[in-house]
Amino acid sequence: MITIQNLTKRYGDVLAVDDISFTVSPGNVCGFLGPNGAGKSTTMRCLVGLAEPTSGTATVLDHRYHDLTSPAAQVGTMLDASALHPGRTGLEILTQGAIVLGLPRTRVREVLDLVGLTAKESKRRVAKYSLGMRQRLGIAHALLGSPSVLVLDEPANGLDPAGIRWMRGLLRDFVSRGGTVLLSSHLLHEVQQIADELVMIGQGRIVAHGTLAELLASGDDLEEMFITRTASTSREGALS
């Protein structure tokens, strides 16, 4: 369960996240959709304790991230493919994660197999990885501790169609066993294929929220809804 309640984050005069609230229940993939600069990544950083909210709360499994027993074992996070040190090998990054979480080293090989990175590839430095390989390594790192919640920022970025299909299968299997997924993207088509529900955000505010069926039942084309609602928020912000 992920609960965002009246979350606001301000950087000086800039209101990056403006009083947003939504919940993601177990067994669901929630697509967090918005254009670049809408506040998706800021919201996720507040959720996993990398940024302090100005007001409001962001909790996961009914706790603040810091207050979880072993946060990274319970919540798998992938916020940026570049958050992996380029000077280290993929194997070293996963091994360090396994050591911190108190996991056996065999878990490293398991997650590498899961994301399709070979032993040879894992021994190369991340600086030599393609974007798709970094994404897969990031997902492997998120899955190390067998978490029940996944927080993924643009996870399909850099993946080819086969990779996107693989990720869809992985996430569907994950939620079918009761897992919770919050994934962000600025690509509607990609999110539509994976998510059960959507939260659309524009200029820091939620502009649409509901299951895919509910949003489609309104009669509006989702793409049109995404473009007009996030753009209209931007115009309102400019006028105020």
Binding site: V48, T69, Q74, H85, L101, L114, G116, S146, G169, G179
Partner: protein
């Protein structure tokens, strides 16, 4: 890429049953990080290599370098420490700054959200490796002085290794590395921190050359220079200057660095 299998070991989610983080594990990983990149490995090899090269040169050319020098262990150790401290200090800086520069700090702080644990672990790594490197320099200093004098046909019996000199030498080396740690923690930028750590003390020592007043005034912030003076002359009157300089170069940036690292958004 395979489309199967999915995670068979995912059978049991950790719903609040997770094992709490152990500091020992965090510390182990911080030790690993010290040599986990090629840049750090090169710096470590250069540190070791420079110490061995200088030691070998001392043995080969002792009479040329130190004709008339006393049979004191610091004679060799001083020379060996010069390249070592300028190669080892950047390694300490990178331990702290490279994660911010590469954004891998996001990974670190989601793995270990309590940032104090990370800072404490990095502090321990710095302290332990500083002690090890100092021990290496001290040991090579003693060995190269002894062997150098032997090769040069000088008297080797009764080498002076006073406990006070050992303590002062360790203090001087330790303070320099502590300042590298503290400044890196505050600045969080590799290039800037290395520049401040290496060039800052040099700049102060240069300023002390411009007259008596400048020499005395800037002594209060010349941590390295004052420590060196105390080793050579054992001047007890310089302790206040060393204390104040240590506050400027170590304590203040450390306190500010801990505060800033605890609050800064990791993005």
């Amino acid at each position: 890429m395979t489309t199967a299998p999915l995670d068979r070991t995912h059978a049991q989610f950790r719903r609040g049953e997770a094992t709490p983080l152990r500091f020992a594990n965090v510390l182990t990983v911080e030790f690993r990080k010290l040599l986990a990149t090629r840049a750090n490995q090169v710096l470590a090899l250069l540190t070791l290599g420079s110490a061995l090269v200088v030691a070998a040169l001392i043995v080969a050319f002792y009479d040329t370098l130190f004709d008339g020098a006393a049979n004191h262990w610091l004679v060799g150790a001083f020379l060996i420490r010069m390249p070592v401290q300028y190669l080892f200090a950047p390694l300490i800086v990178l331990l702290l700054t490279s994660e911010w520069g590469t954004r891998s700090v996001m990974t670190t702080f989601t793995l270990v959200p309590r940032r104090g644990l990370i800072m404490a672990a990095k502090g321990i790594v710095t302290a332990v490796t500083t002690l090890v490197v100092w021990g290496l320099v001290a040991g090579l200093g003693v060995a190269s002085t002894y062997l150098g004098r032997d090769v040069a046909g000088m008297d080797t019996a009764g080498m002076w290794i006073p406990a006070k000199d050992v303590a002062l030498d360790l203090l001087a080396f330790g303070l320099f590395m502590a300042s590298a740690f503290a400044i890196a923690l505050l600045v969080q930028n590799s290039a800037a921190a290395i520049a401040i750590v290496l060039v800052g003390p040099m700049a102060v020592q240069i300023l002390r050359q411009f007259g008596q007043w400048m020499n005395e005034a800037f002594a209060w912030i010349d941590m390295n220079g004052v420590a060196q003076q105390m080793q050579m002359g054992g001047d007890p009157g310089l302790w206040p200057q060393l204390l104040v300089a240590s506050v400027v170069w170590v304590v203040l940036p450390l306190v500010a660095g801990i505060w800033w690292t605890s609050r800064r958004e990791a993005a």
